[in-house]
């Protein structure tokens, strides 16, 4: 799978402001629904899933969330990158009682489980590197962001 297909200019959101994670999910889900990249069931499913099994990762100084839900709710396989102007509280994956201040969200959409292994390796390399995460939150325009994600792939 090519990185160009994984990150699309239309689904990169930079320095967004949200009161809470609910507002983030509503904005992204509405956008994706307009693009027909997700099904109408998507918002409800991803909100419930995040409530039951949160995806905030305590990756270090820069924290990332990797929201995702069952593949039957999406029509494509790609990432949706959103950086936050001020950190947004997400519950921590391995300790759901804790809310951690998250600097960016990399939402994982997938519609076919077979495409996954390569994509997961790629995501791991990004979220496990504070250097990479810092580069993402310091990137202030869509073109450079897309380019940055292509560089991560190479």
């Amino acid at each position: 799978m090519q990185v160009e297909e994984l990150v699309s200019d239309a689904d990169i959101f930079i320095d967004q402001e949200f009161q809470d994670e609910q507002e983030y999910f509503e904005m992204v889900a509405t956008h994706l629904l307009e693009e027909r990249k997700v099904k109408t069931s998507f918002l409800e499913n991803i909100l419930q899933r995040e409530k039951d099994y949160p995806t905030g990762l305590n990756t270090g100084e820069i924290k990332v969330a990797i929201p995702h839900t069952d593949y039957t709710n999406a029509n494509t396989t790609q990432l949706v990158v959103t950086t936050f102007k001020s950190p947004v509280g997400f519950h921590q994956m391995d300790d759901p009682d804790y809310v951690i201040p998250v600097n960016l969200a990399i939402m994982i959409l997938f519609d076919n489980p077979e495409k996954q292994p390569q994509m997961l390796k790629y995501i791991m390399e990004i979220v496990q590197s504070q250097t990479n995460l810092r580069e993402i939150i310091n990137t202030k325009n869509v073109k450079s962001m897309k380019q940055l994600f292509e560089e991560f792939g190479g």
């Binding site: 990756t59 391995d94 759901p96 496990q128």
Partner: protein, 100 residues
């Protein structure tokens, strides 16, 4: 010589984060010349059922797994394989459990 271990690697969907952790468990075994573990990848909600039908050596959940469903089987957090934080410590625990 260590025997082959049966390991449950689980997360909410059995799709994303458990796949990340399962890869690491296999990698630790092969890098240390240990028998390839029999990995059962499943959802949190399926753990209890898998424990009833398999002789499981240990469980690697990538998120919060309720203790009431683990039936006292040893549990090692797989979250470090997702975040990269404390990964060495988690790898050592997995290695020890595979060698046991």
């Amino acid at each position: 010589m260590a025997t082959q271990k049966t390991v449950i690697v689980c997360c909410a969907s059995s799709m994303i984060t458990s796949t990340m952790a399962a890869g690491k468990v296999r990698e630790i075994a092969s890098e240390n010349g240990l028998p390839e573990p029999n990995i059962i990848q499943c959802k949190f909600s399926e753990v209890e059922g898998e424990l009833n039908t398999n002789n499981v050596d240990f469980i690697v959940p990538t998120g919060h797994l309720d203790e009431t469903v683990t039936h006292g089987v040893k549990t090692i957090s797989g979250t470090p394989f997702v975040t990269g934080v404390n990964e060495d410590k988690a790898s050592n625990e997995i290695l020890a459990a595979l060698e046991a």
